[in-house]
């Protein structure tokens, strides 16, 4: 099943009293079912915070987040976990060093009382392109790319419809990044996932996403289609600066 995601007037404030900091003043966007939606912007612009709000990892936000028209707040935990999953930036930090791949993958199955554990684990590993024998490996026995595959497998094992990707390749080498991007692309074609992807690399956005939002200090300055990148068709000065810098960096200018 493919799902749509809509945020309406999402806002969040960290801290209390005079030191309170409004990180997201007012965010609204709509992601179509099956779309890959990018969030770009400089560090500290609130990209990852948006993902953490959607996934309820941070839950004291105001406004509305609707997945297929249903508020994530009203979703019971079990349903929410089966609807959306998140993949984090650093595969060196996001896997427990003392848990084998089998432990990592079987825990969600046990919590959600699913059957056929062995079969599901084998399937998800082959989905992410790892051999079944990797179940008994520990993170230190895996390379960075293999770790990120395990992190993706962990997200896939509950068969979610929405994947939240927080810089899934920025800690990886180009050669390994290519493998992971290809994997994400293939999984989307096969399963019809909706992706929301945070990245700072516009080349990755151009490769993966249909549309993307440019964020600056917690606000969305502009939502653009990917076709706007090569010709720098943005209107807002910051988006133009960002796209211009990326083009210059790639040697297009």
């Amino acid at each position: 099943m493919t799902v749509s995601v809509e945020t309406r007037n999402l806002s969040i404030t960290f801290g209390h009293g005079p030191t309170a900091l409004k990180v997201l003043p007012d965010i609204s966007f709509l992601v179509e079912p099956g779309e890959c939606f990018g969030l770009v912007g400089e560090s500290g612009s609130g990209k990852s915070t948006v993902l953490r709000c959607i996934s309820m990892l941070t839950d004291f936000w105001k406004g509305e987040i609707l997945i297929n028209g249903k508020s994530v707040r009203d979703m019971p935990l079990i349903e929410r976990c089966r609807t959306l999953q998140m993949v984090f930036q650093d595969p060196y930090g996001s896997l427990h060093p003392r848990q084998s791949v089998r432990t990592v993958l079987s825990e969600p199955l046990r919590i959600h009382k699913l059957t056929n554990h062995e079969e599901r684990m084998q399937k998800v590993l082959s989905d992410v392109g790892l051999p079944g024998s990797f179940l008994d490996r520990f993170p230190h026995q895996l390379s960075g790319g293999q770790r990120q595959r395990v992190a993706i497998a962990r997200a896939l094992i509950l068969e979610p419809s929405l994947l939240l990707l927080d810089e899934p390749t920025s800690a990886l080498d180009v050669s390994v990044q290519a493998e992971i991007l290809n994997l994400l692309q293939r999984l989307r074609e096969e399963h019809g996932f909706t992706y929301i992807m945070v990245t700072h690399d516009l080349a990755v956005v151009d490769h993966m996403c249909d549309r993307f939002a440019v964020m600056l200090r917690g606000e969305i300055t502009e939502i653009l289609p990917r076709e706007a990148i090569p010709g720098c068709e943005a209107v807002h000065p910051y988006s133009r600066e960002l796209i211009g810098a990326s083009l210059e960096y790639e040697g297009h200018v």
């Binding site: 400089e42 560090s43 080498d173 180009v174 050669s175 692309q185 993966m208 960002l242 040697g251 297009h252």
Partner: protein, 279 residues
């Protein structure tokens, strides 16, 4: 070209306790130019940079030749090395968050370089530091000098590092991933500043990076490293004409703006690359 500033031949580096060498027979020369070293993580590129400054206490470094201007680096005592390190050859590290001392004011840290290597008063050194911070385009350098590293942004921190490393007017600067921790918009500014200073002062620059776009735009010559060896040496503008399948693989694996959305090419690593020596 005149006599190279740095001439390295058959450099081997083995970390203490490691079964194999991390760097296996690397040779290169550096003139007054910008030399890029690219490769994946674990290819030994940073190890080469640190080896040149002899910053690897537990590692065994051997080479047929490691000549820097008039001195043979490997034959220097540690005490003599102190006169080279930071004074005539310095290194810009990756992340200002981790490489600046969090509990000392920026100005003092920058000035320390000068105080360490030249006879002068603290006040003069601080004046030098302020002038240098201005040269790396930091607005209001007097104020920044009084700040602590956590009070300045990442881009500014990296410029502070550059100022610190250029203050003693070295002949060679090794920049190890100087901008990977920065946003694209800031990255260009920092690189342009570094580039300008290096050109004006005729410094030899070694730019260590995994980013092909960066070395293409900001280097004259590029060494491509794989598993501790240099597999190919190219002029940066000829990067697209690379011959070695590894280099070509790296270039093809990179998503590009305006590129086709076909699956990206994935590296097919050949065992024979491990033993090849660059021509």
């Amino acid at each position: 070209m005149t006599r190279p500033i740095l001439d390295v031949e058959n450099l081997h580096i083995r970390y203490g306790g490691a079964p194999t060498d991390a760097v296996r027979g690397v040779s290169f020369t550096l003139g007054r130019e910008r030399l890029g070293i690219v490769g994946e993580s674990g290819s030994g590129k940073s190890t080469v940079g640190r080896g040149l400054l002899r910053l690897l206490p537990s590692a065994k470094i051997t080479a047929d030749k490691m000549r820097f201007e008039d001195v043979e680096l490997l034959s220097l005592t540690e005490e003599q090395m102190l006169g080279v390190r930071g004074r005539r050859m310095s290194m810009i590290l990756q992340d200002p968050k981790f490489s600046l001392n969090p509990i000392r004011k920026v100005g003092d840290q920058v000035a320390e370089t000068y105080l360490r290597h030249f006879k002068c008063s603290r006040k003069d050194a601080l004046q030098k530091a302020i002038a240098m911070l201005e040269a790396v385009k930091i607005r209001d350098p007097e104020r920044v000098c009084e700040q602590y590293p956590h009070e300045i942004s990442g881009g500014m921190g990296q410029r502070v590092m550059i100022a610190m490393m250029l203050l003693a007017d070295p002949d060679v600067v090794i920049a190890d991933e100087p901008t990977s921790a920065l946003d694209v918009t800031v990255r260009l500014q920092v690189l342009n500043i570094l580039d300008g200073l290096v050109r004006d002062r005729g410094i030899g620059l070694i730019m260590i990076s995994h980013d092909l776009n960066l070395v293409r735009n900001f280097c004259d010559r590029v060494l491509i490293m794989y598993a501790g060896r240099v597999v190919e040496t190219l002029a940066a503008r000829d990067l697209d004409k690379a011959q070695h399948p590894y280099t070509r693989g790296l270039i093809a694996a990179q998503p590009r703006i305006g590129g086709a959305r076909a699956p990206l090419a994935v590296l097919d690593r050949r065992p024979e690359w491990l033993e090849e020596v660059s021509r």
